[in-house]
């Protein structure tokens, strides 16, 4: 397994324990009508080689997006900061955050944050 993926799993498993917010990789599996009120997903945006020697890749730069979906707006007051802190503590670099438009079919608001992780090969 890639290092970044292992780290994401570790971070979000702990986050789930500490904050009682479930997560899934790429998208939350299950019926859209039965989605939790609050949940997190994460996925890789791109994975670029950054350094090579002897015809081998030595360093890559992985950009990931962590998304937070929630029905109660007050979630935005605390959870995004906690997510950012958790990833930064694990040596991910914050690129930027923003919103995901409200989804009227599920009633979820969305927040997203991009992080970059440099991984030696």
């Amino acid at each position: 397994m890639n290092e970044w993926l292992t780290l994401c799993e570790e971070i979000l498993t702990k986050f789930k324990t500490d904050n009682n917010i479930p997560y899934d990789y790429i998208r939350y599996n299950g019926d859209a009508t039965q989605l939790p009120d609050t949940y997190i997903t994460y996925f890789m945006v791109d994975d670029l080689g950054k350094s090579w020697s002897d015809n081998k890749e030595k360093l890559r730069s992985i950009r990931i997006q962590v998304s937070l979906y929630y029905r109660k707006k007050e979630i935005t007051l605390t959870i995004p900061d906690k997510i950012e802190a958790a990833f930064i503590a694990a040596n991910f670099m914050r690129i930027g955050a923003g919103t995901i438009p409200y989804q009227s079919d599920t009633g979820h608001y969305g927040w997203r944050c991009d992080f970059r992780y440099f991984e030696r090969r």
Binding site: I26, R27, Y28, G30, A32, L35, Y39, T41, F43, V45, D46, L48, R63, Q65, S67, Y69, I95, G96, A97, G98, T99, I100, P101, Q103, T106, H108, G110, R112, C113, D114
Partner: protein
């Protein structure tokens, strides 16, 4: 080069779906261009304009992966050169305010948490994956405009 905002939205805020690119270190470059006796603004604008089709094409190809009506592909556009002091940029992508029919591009790019086909980012990778090509074109153009960049 760096990403910046799209008409009041940050690249990561609101429903923005675009990238800007610009030339950094302009002050130093300006001196060299002026010394060479060329028009600074035109040289930079030409470099950026000639590099713009690269990320544009990648974005369009990404949008085609989920084409239904063609609204998203059509909405991907290159803007005009914008100048503010030494900041020169061009915008490439979708202005959702102007093209509300392309809103599902936002969910393709950022995901919606549950749909089986999303996320499938096509805007951010269009810039990240083409950085080398973009730089190379800009360098070539600037060189041809008389900028001593080596």
């Amino acid at each position: 080069m760096a990403s910046k905002g799209w008409r009041g939205y940050t690249s990561y805020g609101g429903s923005a779906l675009g990238i800007d690119f610009q030339l950094k270190g302009l002050d130093e470059m300006l001196k060299k261009i002026e010394k060479a006796g060329n028009n600074v603004d035109n040289a930079v604008a030409k470099a950026i304009t000639q590099a713009a089709p690269i990320p544009l094409k990648t974005m369009q190809e990404g949008a085609l992966r989920h084409k239904k009506t063609g609204d998203v592909v059509k909405a991907i556009q290159t803007g005009h050169i914008e100048r503010e002091g030494n900041y020169t940029a061009i915008q490439i992508g979708i202005d959702i305010k102007k093209n509300p029919e392309a809103i599902h591009a936002v969910f393709q790019e950022y995901g919606d948490g549950h749909s089986p086909n999303f996320p499938d980012p096509f805007v951010r990778p269009a810039f990240d994956e083409n950085t080398t090509k973009i730089r190379s074109i800009m360098r070539r153009v600037l060189k041809s405009e008389g900028v001593p960049i080596d």
